[in-house]
């Protein structure tokens, strides 16, 4: 007997409307989380290079903890563990956004630190020698240059985080993978459906790459 697998194009196409319902969740969790993660990254990244040890230490601890543990464990901890502590359930969407925020925040902290430290010390000295305060020197001279260098690694992190949201199917957020699982449970067309799911991720990440490349091209001209 010969086994022949036929890719069922019709099944793949039929699954699109149902799967597409997951896209808004995937986008909301990734970009909501990344936005908060970016703020966390700036705060903790800058604290991690502060001269004051009391500020530096907690920042380093945060970074090491959230970089050093799997994001799956983090989201399970937030969704199943934290409710015990705060005495009430956490909505899966919130848990997902929080996990992306905390996790990407740790990585972005390192991106921020690297970006800021890559700027020549002479820039700070020039700013200070002109009479600018440390704060003015930082925000008008160092940060704009550092940010430009941060764009490629930030784009990297954004793509990683978008893909990480696929893990949140385990807490039942109706994102792309979850939608796929539910759909397959009824149709048994795993190959076709996961193929479409993969294409949808690729569409999101490729558009992001494209946007970032355009941003970069506009930004680097002057540096």
């Amino acid at each position: 007997m010969e086994f022949q697998f036929q890719f069922d194009w019709q099944a793949a196409i039929d699954s699109i409307p149902y799967l597409a319902k997951g896209i808004p969740y995937t986008l909301l969790i990734s970009f909501g989380g990344l936005l908060i993660g970016f703020v966390l990254g700036i705060i903790f990244g800058l604290l991690s290079i502060n001269k004051n040890r009391l500020l530096r230490w907690p920042a380093t601890a945060y970074i090491e903890i959230f970089r050093g543990t799997p994001i799956l464990v983090q989201v399970l901890f937030i969704f199943y563990g934290l409710p015990d502590l705060i005495g009430g359930p956490i909505d899966p969407l919130t848990a997902g956004i929080a996990a992306i925020a905390l996790n990407s925040g740790a990585y972005i902290s390192e991106v921020v630190r690297g970006g800021v430290q890559s700027i020549d010390k002479g820039q700070t000295e020039a700013g200070l020698s002109l009479g600018l305060s440390r704060t003015q020197t930082f925000w008008s001279i160092i940060w704009p240059q550092a940010f430009r260098r941060m764009i490629p690694p930030l784009g990297n992190q954004a793509i990683v985080s978008i893909k990480d949201t696929s893990l949140f199917s385990v807490i039942g957020v109706g994102e792309l993978v979850r939608q796929g699982q539910v759909y397959i449970a009824n149709t048994f067309t795993a190959f076709e459906v996961y193929f479409v799911v993969a294409i949808m991720y690729l569409a999101i990440t490729l558009s992001l790459s494209l946007i970032l490349r355009l941003l970069e091209r506009r930004g680097v001209a002057s540096v």
């Binding site: 000295e125 020039a126 020698s129 009479g131 003015q136 002057s222």
Partner: protein
Amino acid sequence: MTQIVKMKGMNKYFGKLHVLQNIDLTVEQGEVVVIIGASGSGKSTLIRCVNGLEEFESGSVEVDSHPLAPKGGNQKALAEIRKEVGMVFQQFNLFPHLTVRKNIMLAPMKVKDASQVVANATAERLLNRVGIGNQADKYPSQLSGGQQQRVAIARALAMEPRLMLFDEPTSALDPEMIGEVLDVMRELAKEGMTMMVVTHEMGFAREVADRVIYIHEGQIVEEGKPHDVFDNPQNERTQSFLSRVLAH
């Protein structure tokens, strides 16, 4: 005569290394003081102590009547000093993300609350003065080294400093561009700017300096009019240094 810089018994360490030892130095208003010495002798560190880019450990440093305290104390005086003291660096340190014009406008607008119009007029006037009025809207990386250093001088002048510090301003330049930067500095000196210049350009020192200071291993070992220091050095260390740098 007003003394712009007064250093008394100033000591500076890098860890255990005693880089500046018991420095006594005054600079009068309008005076051009050129500091010479071998690399590593502490001459750059000396002028960096004037505007607090380096902290000193003991002794006193007073700049335009604002007393700096050891170990970076007296931040208030330091802030005042930095508004009044301009600095030009070996590596130019222009802001690469800003146009030449914006490089010059930044400090007057941020520190002195100058309006955009006023800061812009200042920038254009100074760029013309250093001979690159037509480059205002270029970015630093589009200029030659000599032009960049002239922008850096204009940028410092925009704060209307009482004192200008020059830290080896021509050492990073191609030989053919050294002249244009020295010309600008010569003009400044002629107009009466108080200047402290660390340089290896002995011709410039001889011609422009009111006083030449020779530093050896963190100590001022000789000080005087260029004519005396260059043609009749008293200290044997100065003699041997000069014979080495003037030989070629």
